[in-house]
Structure formats: C-alpha cells, structure tokens
C-alpha cells in the first residue's frame, strides 16, 4: 500500500504552536471563548491545544467534546448506523465565541452536522473552525477553515491518516494512503 508522509512530528509541533499563537492573537484573554473538539478524532487535537494554550498564556480555556452522530445527513443511507461517542460539554455556548477543532476537513459534512449539534447548547456569538489537514479538493459543502495546518490535494480514493503518540503510535504523524479495495 502506498503511503506518503504529509507532516512529521516536528512539523506538527510547529503547527500546534502556531495555532496557539493565532488563537491568542484573535481571542486575547479568551474571556468569552470556548473550544469544542469534534468526536471521535478532533478531541485529541483539542486536548493538545488546550494544554499548549495554558502553557503559553496560563489560561485554561473551557473546552468540551462534541459528537454529531445523531445530526449526520447520511443516517439511513449507510449500511448500518454509526456508533455515537460521548458528548461532554459542561457549559452553554450561548453568546460565546466557539472554536470547533477537528483533525481533517474532508467533505465538510461532519462540520455541518457538528454546527447543528452545537446549537443544542445555545446560540454562539461566532464560530470558527480549526483543522490540522484541509483536503481542499473534496468539499461537498461550502465550509472553509479559519485555522489550518496544511492544505493537501487528495482524491476520494485516498485516506488521510492522523497518528498520535497518545494512541500508541511511535510519533505524531500524518499520512496519505490509498483506500484498500478488495
């Protein structure tokens, strides 16, 4: 199977640091800001961002995990329903600036579903999107990230795989692979 490295550990570290400084620049003291990591894979990126923002600025930004499974538009169009993950949000987003965080932006459908799920917790003042990888040629919906790590040109026949040390991988890395067809 062909496998191409998009970002290695060092590049990811630099991007995460850049993300944090961009957030500090745009959100000042984070007084009215919350972070939401999209389940299942955006939550690992969220945890890293929350920890690094705290390290740099000393501020713990309120954060939560958002699962959009029940808001997806492909329910009954798949062979079987997707298994939901935990939504863990201990605050309302009413009047808040929300930064949605995910690892890969592909068709934009998950982000649409996530925005739908998010408004169950109130009407935010503003919503921004942060992704590590923007697959820019495969979008179905008009959704663009406010913060992105890298833009890649990929085909539908390819996967973008994000590996984290926290999941037992030897290093943080992002790969493009071909989907296996049997």
């Amino acid at each position: 199977m062909q496998k191409r490295l998009v970002l290695d550990q060092q590049q990811i570290d630099i991007i995460l640091k850049r993300f944090c400084y961009q957030l500090i620049e745009n959100h000042d003291d984070f007084e009215n800001t919350v972070f939401l990591g999209l389940q299942p894979r955006g939550t690992l990126l969220l945890d890293k961002i929350v920890a690094q923002v705290k390290e740099i600025s000393g501020i713990t930004v309120p954060s939560g995990y958002l699962d959009a499974t029940f808001h997806r538009d492909d329910f009954r169009r798949r062979d079987f329903p997707l298994k939901a993950n935990e939504t863990k949000i201990d605050f309302l987003v009413e009047g808040k600036k929300v930064v949605l965080i995910d690892d890969v932006l592909y068709k934009g459908r998950s982000v649409r579903a996530a925005m739908d799920a998010m408004i169950a917790f109130g009407r935010p003042q503003k919503v921004e999107l942060m992704v590590l990888v923007d697959r820019r040629l495969t979008r179905d919906y008009p959704i663009l990230p406010d913060y992105y790590g890298v833009k890649v040109n990929t085909l539908d026949s390819q996967y973008v795989v994000v590996e984290w040390v926290a999941q037992g991988n030897p290093a943080d890395a992002i790969w493009i692979t071909e989907k296996v067809t049997s």
Partner: protein
C-alpha cells in the same frame, strides 16, 4: 458492530448479548441528549412511526412518544378503543391500512402473546413490541438493565431478584432473558401460585421466602399484582399478599447491605411496595422512567438506521 442483528424488536429472546450491549451503550448517548437544554436530535426526521396500542398504557406509550419526538420522527397514535377494530377489522388489515399512509415503523402493544411476531411476518415496517400479553416487554427489560448498570456497573455476577406476580408478567420473562444474557444471576420470589411451573427450566431458581431473597439479592425488581389478568383467585386477599410479599422501608433498612429497589410501574402502593419503600433512597423507580425514554430512543435509532 454498530448494528442490531434484527430489524424488529419482538423480544429479548431474539437478541444477542452484543445487541443488548449496543442498545445500552447507545442509550448512554441519548440520556446525555435528553438532559440538554434542547433535547432533540434530527436523526429520524424522515421517519413516521405509528404507536398502536390495543391495551391500556400510560408510561410506555408516553415514553415511546417522547422518544420518537426527541428523535424528530413524525408520530401517529392509535388506540383500539375508538377504532375500526371494534367493527371487526383484523390486525393485519388495521396495520396495513396505517402503513398505506406511508408509516415506516410500528410500535405495538397487544393482549395476545405473539401478536408482534405475527405482524412482523405480514407487514414491511419495522415492528417494536411494546408488550404482548403475558409474553415479553423488551424495552422494559432493556431500561431495567440500563438502570441497574447505571447504579451497579457491569451486571456480570450480580444477583437480581424478581418479586411478585411472575406468572402474568411479561416484564419478568423479558428481564430474565436480558439479565441472564448480561451475565447476572436471576431468582424469582412470590406466592407459589404466581410462579410458572417451568420457570426453573430457564435457569432461574425459585425462592418463596421474601426475607431470604432480600438477603440474597443486589437488586429487587418488584412487580405489580396484575389483577386484570387474574380470572381466578391466586391468593386469598391483597392484605395477605401484602403481609407475605409486600416490601417496606423497615425491611430494607434491616438488611446488612444496600440493595436497589425497582418497579416497572404502575405501583399498587401498600400491596407489593409500601409508600416509604417506593419513595426511599433505595428506590430508582423514577430513574427507570427517565431511562425508558433514552433506551427507547436507542432502540428506534438502531432499528431505523439499518439500510433497506
């Protein structure tokens, strides 16, 4: 797997352990949803569900209706008391007429055991059994198991007592199947006349002494005396039943451990359960009602989600 092995929920007997665990895991997500400021998700917005109740129900019917509405399904309600069933229409004809109005799922309660099984073979919609006579009440068993798990964690090796009118109870049978599949040990307790003769063939031990079973169990699931299904006298009087098999707070406080008290409702206060026991800290009866909505949302979501 995130798919049930069946497209109908007719009884717990037909479900695998994996099916049961999938429903319970999915219900955790729905419980979080029904405690949000906005308690609704759009998953079933293109689905129409008919609640067809040939028997009286308050809790189950409300619970199903709330579950359906919180999943954004369109809901139609039907009760036999003011319908053409009274004019002699057959079950299949009634349901097919409802389905001709483009209904995707049927939730049915019927007095005849096996009615939902019969229906599932004759109509194209997904069928959910909301209680068929004295046979099964699968969603009640699932919500009971969910409530027990919430309180006690994994049920493997846990000791569950089902106390009361076992003979006429569809909740008892579904509970036995469900709890055994989850690895719990189940015993029943009640007057010998209200215990089915074949119950031990299900791997369930019988205990006739209420005090002994309370000493043994982690959970006491207390059932209602179903006077409406008793054409003959199974015990001399309600007072005598209450004296031998009624649970009160003093008994619960006298045990050397904490046990969980459950009841599927409606409670005959002062018969199988005294008011002070039903309202005590041991009781999770109202949690059961809340969990019922979450579990039914999970069942409907999983059944509706399978393609085709």
């Amino acid at each position: 797997m995130s798919q049930l092995s069946t497209r109908h929920l007719l009884g717990i007997k037909d479900l695998s352990e994996a099916d049961i665990r999938l429903v319970l895991e999915t219900a955790v997500n729905f419980k979080e949803i029904i405690n949000r400021p906005i308690k609704k998700v759009p998953s079933l917005r293109d689905i129409t569900i008919a609640n067809i109740f040939f028997e009286n129900s308050t809790r189950t019917r409300l619970s199903f209706e709330l579950a359906e509405k919180r999943l954004s399904a369109d809901v139609v309600n039907f009760s036999s008391s003011n319908s053409s069933v009274k004019k002699g229409e057959t079950l299949v004809d009634t349901v097919n007429n409802i389905l001709a109005m483009k209904v995707d799922m049927v939730v049915m309660r019927h007095a005849s055991p096996g009615a939902p099984h019969f229906l599932s073979k004759n109509v194209p919609a997904n069928v959910v059994n909301a209680g068929d006579g004295t046979h099964e009440h699968p969603t009640q068993a699932l919500l009971d198991a969910f409530s027990m798990q919430e309180k006690l964690g994994d049920l493997t090796g846990k000791k569950i007592a089902i106390i009361g009118d076992i003979l006429h109870s569809r909740v008892a049978l579904s509970n036995i199947f469900c709890l055994q599949k989850l690895g719990a040990e189940v015993r029943v307790c009640g007057p010998v006349t209200l215990i089915p003769k074949y119950i031990e063939s299900l791997g369930v031990k019988v205990e006739l002494d209420l005090h002994k079973i309370l000493d043994w169990c982690d959970v006491a699931n207390v059932l209602r005396i179903q006077l409406e299904r008793q054409q003959i006298k199974y015990f001399p009087s309600l007072r005598e039943y209450s004296l031998y098999y009624g649970i009160n707070k003093k008994m619960l406080d006298g045990l050397n451990k904490e046990i969980v008290v459950m009841h599927p409702g409606p409670i005959n206060r002062g018969v199988e359960l005294s008011s002070d026991a039903a309202d005590s800290a041991h009781s999770i009866i109202l949690d059961q009602v809340e969990n019922g909505v979450a579990v039914r949302m999970a069942v409907l979501y999983l059944l509706a989600g399978a393609k085709g």
